[in-house]
Homo-oligomer: 477 residues x 2
C-alpha cells in the first residue's frame, strides 16, 4: 500500500498526500478550485450541523442572498473594495449579452446583505437582526492549497445589525466564543482567541477577532474570525433605524465566518505519518468493523457476530461502518482506515467469536497499547467512553504541542529564533509599519492580541517602547 | 392589516403578495435573483433534510463540485450545449486579469462531474457511483418569478454512474419514486409521475422522467425531474470501466434534481386568499401559541399556562412558537399567522386557564368548524394527530382539485377547451412538430406520458392516427 510522505520530510507534500489518500478532496479542472469528495464532505456536514445548532440556539436564523453582487455595491465601502479588488471574479456576459454593469461573484456578502438590511430595518423593534448564511464564495487564488486557500470555498457568514455599539461588540465576542467552543469541543483543536492587529483586520471592520490554532508544522492557522463592523457598512448602505425617541440612527453591524479551511486545520493538527486522525465528535465514521476469517466456516461465524455488533452500535447512535469488502487482507483494511483516521477499529476474528469479545483498536494510540479486548455485551457504553477519551487525548496532545512550541520572548533575537519554528509571545507597541518590517524580516505576523494578557507592561520586542499588550506572532497559512 | 390580492382577481399578483406578506423571499437588487428570507429558508431547510435522508438511505453520498465550469466542457455534449447556451453567465475576468478560457457559472453539473467520474471510475468494482450535490446554479432568466424562475436558484443534483443500461434506468425510476413520495408525503402535493416527450426532455438525456403537479390556477408545475443519460455523457467525457472480462465499457449515467421551485409549488397548491397553508411535516412553525388577556392579572395567569403549553409541545418535538409580541391585538396576530400558513394556532385566554383547556384553530378550516377545545393534559398527542389530519386534508383537497380539473378528451375541440383551464388526458401519436403546433395553438405542452396508462389504443387527439399512449397536457409554469 502506498504511504504518505513523512511530515518530517516535506510537510506540504504530506498534507496533500493525506488528503488524496484519505479521499477527502482533489483539485478540480478549474484552476484554484477543489472537488470535495464524499468522505471530506461528510466531515464538512458534521461541522455544519454542529455549528448551525449553536447559531440557532443563540437566536440566529439562516437566509440566502444572491451569488452575484453589482460592482457598484463592492465599491461603496472604501477599505472593503481595496481589500477585495485583487481577488474578484467578474461576470461580464449573461444570457448571451454583455452586461451593462458587471457582476461580482461574491467574495463575502457584507455589501449585498447591507443593502437588504437597509430595507428590512425601520425601527428599534426590528433589532437586533441576526442572520446567518451557508454559501460558496470566490476569491481568486494564485497559490491554491486544498481546503486552505481555494478560489471557491464553502463557509458560513453571519451578519447582524444592532442598535448600539455595545450590543454589536457583545455579539462579535459571543460568536468568537462559539467558534472557540466548536474548535475545542468538537474538533479537539485548542485555539488562542484574541484581537487582530490593524494590519490584519478585515477590510472595512472596526475590530476583528480571531481564533488561532497551531498546525503540526508549528505554523498558525486563522480558524475563524468575527468582526465588529461599527457603523462603516451602515453608513455606506444607509442601514438606519428610528430609535425610541423617533430619531434616525445608524445601526452597528457585525460579520463572522468559519469555512472549509477548518477541515485543513483538522488534518494538520491531528494527522500523523499514518494519515488522518478524525476527532470523534465530527468523524464521518466513528467506528469501523473489520471481520477477520480464513475458511467459509469462520466467515459465517465471524460475520454473524460482526453484523450483530454493527447493529448494536448503529442502534446506539454511532456512525459505524462494516468493512466487508472481499479480496482485501485485514492488514490492508487496517491501513486504509488508519489513513482515513477512523477513531476506533473493531476487529473480530474466530477466537473472538468463541469468547464473545472483540478487539478495539484506537487510532490515536498505535500498536498494542491502543488495543483493548471488550465483551460484546455492554459494548456500546464502552465505545462511547472510548470515543470521549480519544477526543480528550487528541485535544491534550494538540495543547501540549502548542504549549511546547510557544515561547515568551523578550529580545528580537529570541523572537526571530522562536518564530522560525513555533509561536512567539512578545510585548508589542509597534506601528503598522513596524509590523510590516517584522513580517519582512521574519515572515511572522501578529496572529492576534490574545484575550489572555499578563497585565502590566513590558518592553516592545521590536521598538523597545513601553508596551501594554502581549501579541502572539507566528508564520501563518 | 394589508390583504393579498384575491386569487380570482389576479393569480400572479396573489402569488407575489403571499410571498412578500408571509416573508418568504424578495427580489434581490441583482436582476433575476432572489433573497430567501428566514421563514422561506427554514421551509427549504426542512425540505432539504427530508430529501437528504431519503438519498442517504438509498446509498447516495453528498459531495461538492466547483461553481465554475470551463467553457470547453459545456461544449462537449452537443445537445447539452445547445440547450443551455442561451442561459449562461460567463466569468471573463478573474484576479484582475482577463481569463484565457472563460468560465461558465454552472447551470447544472453533468459536465464537470462527468469529467471527475472519468478519473474516479476504473473498474466495475467502482460502480455504481452514487453522488448527490446541494448547490446553487445559474440560468439567465429574462422573465423571473420568485422561486419558480430565478437566475440563481438552489437545488440538489444527483449524478450516478452504472455498469448497465438496466441499472441506470432502475436508478432513474427509483429517484422519481423518492421525489413522488416526498411531494405527496411531505409536501402534501399529489403528483403525476411519467416520462417527458422528446421535445421536453433534458438537453443530453436519453429519457427524462418528471413529477407534475397542478397549481391553484390549474396550470402544471414540473416539480422534479430524473434523467437517464444513457451513454451520452459517458462518451463525451470518457467515463469508462473495465468489466469482469477486462474489457473497457462506457458507463451509463443518470442525473436528477429538485429545486427551490418546490417552494413555489407548496405556495400555489395549498395557499388561499388568506395566505399560505404550510404542509405540517415541512412547516417551519407547526404550532403557534397566542396568549389573550386584558389586565395584568389575566396576563400573569395566561402567560403561565401559555409557557407551560409551549414547553410541553417543544419537549414533544414540535416546531412551536410563542407569539408574545406586545402592542399587537390577538386579531392581528391571528391574521399574521394565517398569512404565514402555520397549521395550528393555540389560543389561550383567561377562561381557558380556569378550565385548563386551550383552543386549537386549524389553518385549513377557517371559522368555527376549524376550532376545537382541548385539555392541556394530553395536548401533545392531540396536536400530533391533528397535524396528521391537516396533512391528509391538504393532500385530499389538492387531489380532489386536480381530479376535478383534469379531463379525458377525445376531440381536439374538447382538448382546446380543457387546457384553457386544467389538465387534459388524450391519446397521442404526434411527432415533435405536432407537439410544437399544439403548443402554438393552445399554449399547452405534454407534461408527461403518465406511468399510469389505460392500455390498449385510441385515436390521437391531434393527428387522428392510432395511438398507444395517453399524454397529459397542460399549460405550465
Amino acid at each position: 500500500m502506498q504511504k504518505v510522505t513523512p511530515r518530517s520530510e516535506d510537510y506540504a507534500r504530506w498534507y496533500t498526500d493525506v488528503i488524496q489518500m484519505a479521499d477527502l478532496a482533489t483539485y478540480a479542472p478549474v484552476r484554484g478550485c477543489m472537488v470535495i469528495k464524499p468522505y471530506g464532505y461528510a466531515l464538512w456536514e458534521n461541522l455544519q450541523r454542529s455549528l448551525d445548532r449553536r447559531f440557532k440556539e443563540t437566536g440566529h436564523e439562516n437566509a440566502y442572498f444572491p451569488l452575484f453582487i453589482p460592482e457598484s455595491f463592492i465599491k461603496k465601502e472604501a477599505e472593503h473594495v481595496e481589500g477585495f479588488s485583487p481577488e474578484l471574479a467578474v461576470v461580464t456576459v449573461g444570457g448571451g449579452e454583455v452586461l451593462e454593469e458587471p457582476l461580482i461573484v461574491r467574495p463575502t456578502s457584507e455589501t449585498i446583505i447591507g443593502h437588504m438590511f437597509a430595507q428590512w430595518i425601520n425601527s428599534y423593534r426590528d433589532l437586533p437582526l441576526l442572520i446567518n448564511q451557508w454559501a460558496n464564495v470566490v476569491r481568486w487564488e494564485k497559490r491554491p492549497r486544498l481546503f486552505l486557500r481555494t478560489t471557491e470555498f464553502l463557509w458560513q457568514e453571519g451578519h447582524t445589525a444592532h442598535a448600539t455599539s455595545e450590543e454589536a461588540e457583545a455579539e462579535t465576542i459571543q460568536i468568537l466564543g462559539i467558534y472557540r467552543e466548536f474548535a475545542e469541543e468538537q474538533a479537539a483543536i485548542p485555539v488562542t482567541p484574541g484581537k487582530k492587529s490593524e494590519s490584519e483586520k478585515f477590510a472595512g471592520a472596526l475590530h476583528s477577532y480571531t481564533i488561532e490554532a497551531m498546525m503540526g508544522d508549528k505554523r498558525a492557522l486563522q480558524s475563524a474570525t468575527s468582526h465588529n463592523l461599527g457603523q462603516n457598512f451602515a453608513k455606506a448602505f444607509e442601514i438606519k433605524y428610528l430609535d425610541t425617541s423617533n430619531q434616525q440612527q445608524y445601526c452597528h453591524t457585525t460579520s463572522w465566518g468559519m469555512s472549509t479551511r477548518m477541515v485543513g486545520a483538522i488534518i494538520m493538527v491531528h494527522g500523523d505519518d499514518m494519515g488522518l486522525k478524525m476527532p470523534p465528535r465530527l468523524a464521518p465514521v466513528q467506528v469501523v468493523i473489520v471481520p477477520i476469517y480464513k475458511t467459509d466456516e469462520e466467515r459465517a461465524a465471524v460475520m454473524a457476530m460482526a453484523n450483530e455488533t454493527h447493529e448494536t452500535l448503529r442502534n446506539a447512535g454511532f456512525r459505524v461502518k462494516m468493512d466487508n469488502r472481499d479480496g482485501l487482507t485485514p492488514g490492508f483494511k487496517f491501513n486504509d482506515w488508519e489513513m482515513r483516521g477512523v477513531p476506533i477499529r473493531v476487529e473480530i476474528g474466530p477466537k473472538d467469536v468463541q469468547n464473545r469479545q472483540v478487539v478495539l483498536a484506537r487510532r490515536d494510540q498505535p500498536g498494542k497499547e491502543g488495543k483493548l479486548f471488550m465483551g460484546v455485551d455492554g459494548l456500546a457504553e464502552n465505545v462511547s467512553s472510548l470515543l470521549e477519551s480519544i477526543h480528550q487525548s487528541l485535544f491534550n496532545s494538540a495543547l501540549a504541542f502548542q504549549k511546547a512550541n510557544t515561547r515568551e520572548v523578550e529580545t528580537y533575537d529570541a523572537f526571530k529564533e522562536a518564530v522560525q519554528s513555533g509561536f512567539a509571545l512578545a510585548w508589542w507597541a509597534g506601528s503598522r509599519e513596524d509590523e510590516a518590517a517584522v513580517k519582512e524580516e521574519t515572515k511572522a505576523t501578529i496572529r492576534c492580541i490574545p484575550f489572555d494578557q499578563p497585565g502590566g507592561s513590558g518592553k516592545c520586542v521590536y521598538t523597545g517602547k513601553e508596551a501594554k499588550e502581549v501579541a502572539l506572532f507566528a508564520r501563518a497559512y
